[in-house]
């Protein structure tokens, strides 16, 4: 898979059109988000409406650390300052790891509080979490409050040309990581446990599956991946406002892409993202972003009613019926 990713990267690089990287970044970012959502949603059966929260936590960790780096000399006693200057500003891969850790902890915490309850309560709690975190961030002046924060993007990255290409490459790496993680889980003992929980949690418990523990693993892992996707975002966008980090499109797309693509396998979110993602990029440019979101919403409703297992499910059914003839 790494080979395919590298190949794709070089392919996109060839025409040297900056726009491809910009648009491609968003799509690849959604691959990570959709795959992460699916680990908790599709595999384990627990719906997360607050994907934006985990994404934003990653983004704001970066902003906080970047602001800290900028104000280092004002905030820290002189003795330590030179030492810290060696470390800060942190490189993006490090920021990604930190973003992942922060969001993972948030996921764990929230899971601990709410996973003992029914799936419906968990879903509502994720909504609540997103709003609470957004309110906290809006009121936190250090990261810019409601006004937003600027994060300056360096102009160039040695060896690769524009910084955007670097970000894109990183995001592709993350996507590969997410997809490989999902695929590994799917075929592992953990994956079986998730499936049992999704199918019938009570029976899973009776069969010996430690449901709470597995659910916590799923929530933490899913949250961490989303946080990792969010960490480079401030550099990508340059100016981060809470409304954009916590935007509704993250919640909707993280759900719509896996559900339309297919929730039962790692391929589903990928298919869903590529389809919906490209559709949206086109729609954004040709129609309007509001209509584009409307289409996503309608597609979601349509697929949920008609094709519960998504596109991958439809294809699998076709192949299965064909093999029986």
């Amino acid at each position: 898979m790494i080979a395919i990713a590298t190949g794709l990267f070089l392919l996109i690089r060839a025409p040297d059109v900056e726009y491809f990287f910009v648009a491609g970044y968003t799509i690849v970012q959604y691959v990570v988000l959709a795959t992460a959502w699916n680990i908790l949603g599709g595999y384990t059966g627990y719906v997360n409406f607050g994907s934006a929260a985990f994404f934003a936590m990653g983004a704001y960790s970066t902003v906080a650390l970047a602001t800290f780096a900028n104000q280092l000399d004002d905030l820290v006693p002189e003795s330590i300052a030179p030492l810290l200057h060696l470390v800060f500003p942190l490189s993006i891969p490090v920021l990604i790891v930190i973003g992942g850790l922060v969001s993972g902890v948030v996921g764990f915490g929230m899971g601990y509080l709410t996973l003992r309850l029914r799936g419906a309560f968990f879903a509502i709690a994720t909504l609540a979490l997103a709003v609470v975190l957004q309110t906290l961030v809006v009121n936190w002046e250090f990261v810019g409050g409601s006004g937003g924060a600027y994060v300056v993007r360096p102009g160039e990255f040695p060896g690769l040309g524009s910084y955007m290409q670097y970000l894109f490459a990183l995001m592709m790496g993350l996507a590969v990581l997410a997809l490989v993680t999902a695929r590994t889980i799917e075929r592992s003992r953990l994956g079986y446990g998730f499936a049992a929980i999704r199918d019938d949690e009570l029976a899973a418990e009776a069969s010996g599956v430690p449901t709470l523990r597995l659910k916590l693993i799923a929530t933490t892992l899913s949250g961490a991946l989303m946080g990792m996707a969010g960490a480079p975002f401030p550099y990508y966008i340059g100016y981060l406002q809470p409304q954009s980090a916590f935007g509704l499109e993250y919640a909707v797309n993280s759900i719509a892409m896996p559900m339309i693509g297919g929730t039962m396998s790692w391929v589903g979110p990928l298919v869903g993202t590529l389809l919906l993602g490209t559709l949206q990029q086109v729609a954004n440019v040709t129609i309007s972003s509001a209509v584009n979101l409307l289409l996503v919403g309608l597609l979601l409703i349509g697929f949920v009613i008609v094709a519960p297992n998504g596109i991958v499910g439809l294809v699998q059914d076709r192949l299965w019926t064909r093999s029986r003839k």
Partner: protein, 291 residues
């Protein structure tokens, strides 16, 4: 920070009035989630729809928003039954309510918001009515009619619902279906029909709630989302399906929100409801008066 007594009293009173309104907003969820176990997170979307309908009619014909909402009751009721039918056929029957049902309602909420956005844009809309503006004064207490009238209407609607559920046959059938579907079938009552009626009723309340909302505050499409947390917080805190509990929880939330807004500023308001919700879910999911 000095806590002025007058300010505190004012905040509490405002909170109670707000709480009455919140009770009306939550009534629908008490039915659909509390009694029917349907997580209709799209409910606030219907409330906003009600607000915009009241707005248009008020703008074009000058009709009082409350009257508009009453006239629209049957329309919303039918809308509710239609949606339940889709929900039932697609999900409940197949036993897949959890994941797909949630995604379905989320989609409905989202589509409603975007449609309103496309139709009306992001500007705040408000209605005109003779009671928006003047206030009653009782000593240190101000009762803005803008808040008082919705509160009274809300409480009336709430009381009417309570009477309907406890005194009429269909109302009691709804209570029964929430507790024991099988027993209902034995009495030759079709549970699906009862649930459909109940869900229609819950959406009908959104019509009134929407009109009241736009009297109290200006409305734009994304306001619905703020209310998701409030509505579920109140419903859970009050104990699922318990109407009296819902009322108490609504008042409580209204007062806490009001006091926070008065002394700490309005930007913390959204977090209050959702914070309440998280805390309740974490520590006392059966609510104050839960079953």
């Amino acid at each position: 920070m000095e806590v002025s007594f007058d300010l505190l009293i004012g905040a509490i009173v405002a909170g109670l009035l707000l709480g009455g309104f919140y009770a009306a907003v939550t009534a629908g969820i008490s039915i659909s989630f509390g009694m029917l176990d349907i997580v209709n997170i799209a409910h606030p979307g219907f409330i906003i729809l009600g607000s915009y309908i009241a707005y248009i009619v008020n703008l074009e014909f000058g009709v009082d928003p409350v009257i508009v909402s009453v006239v629209m009751l049957p329309v919303f009721y039918l809308l509710g039954t239609a949606i339940y039918q889709v929900y039932y056929l697609s999900f409940e029957k197949r036993g897949q309510e959890s994941l797909r049902g949630l995604a379905f309602f989320f989609g409905v909420l989202f589509v409603t918001e975007v449609v309103l956005l496309l139709a009306f844009g992001v500007d705040y809309r408000y209605v005109e009515a003779p009671y928006i503006g003047p206030s009653l004064h009782f000593g240190p207490i101000d009762l803005p009619l803008r808040m008082l009238v919705p509160c009274l209407v809300a409480l009336t609607m709430f009381a009417a619902l309570q009477i309907f559920i406890t005194r009429t046959f269909i109302g009691r059938a709804i209570l029964a279906v929430s507790q024991d579907q099988f027993a209902l079938q034995l009495m030759a009552v079709d549970p699906v029909r009862i649930k459909r009626i109940a869900f229609g009723l819950s959406i009908a309340t959104a019509s009134v709630a929407g009109a009241l909302l736009i009297i109290i505050q200006p409305v734009e499409p994304s306001v619905g989302r703020e209310y998701i947390g409030r509505v579920f917080a109140i419903c859970v805190l009050g104990g699922l399906g318990s109407m009296p509990g819902t009322l108490i929880a609504a008042m409580l939330l209204g007062v806490v929100e009001s006091i926070t807004a008065t002394f700490y500023g309005p930007s913390w308001a959204p977090a209050i409801a959702f914070g309440f919700l998280l805390l309740t879910l974490a520590f006392r999911p059966s609510g104050l008066l839960g079953r």
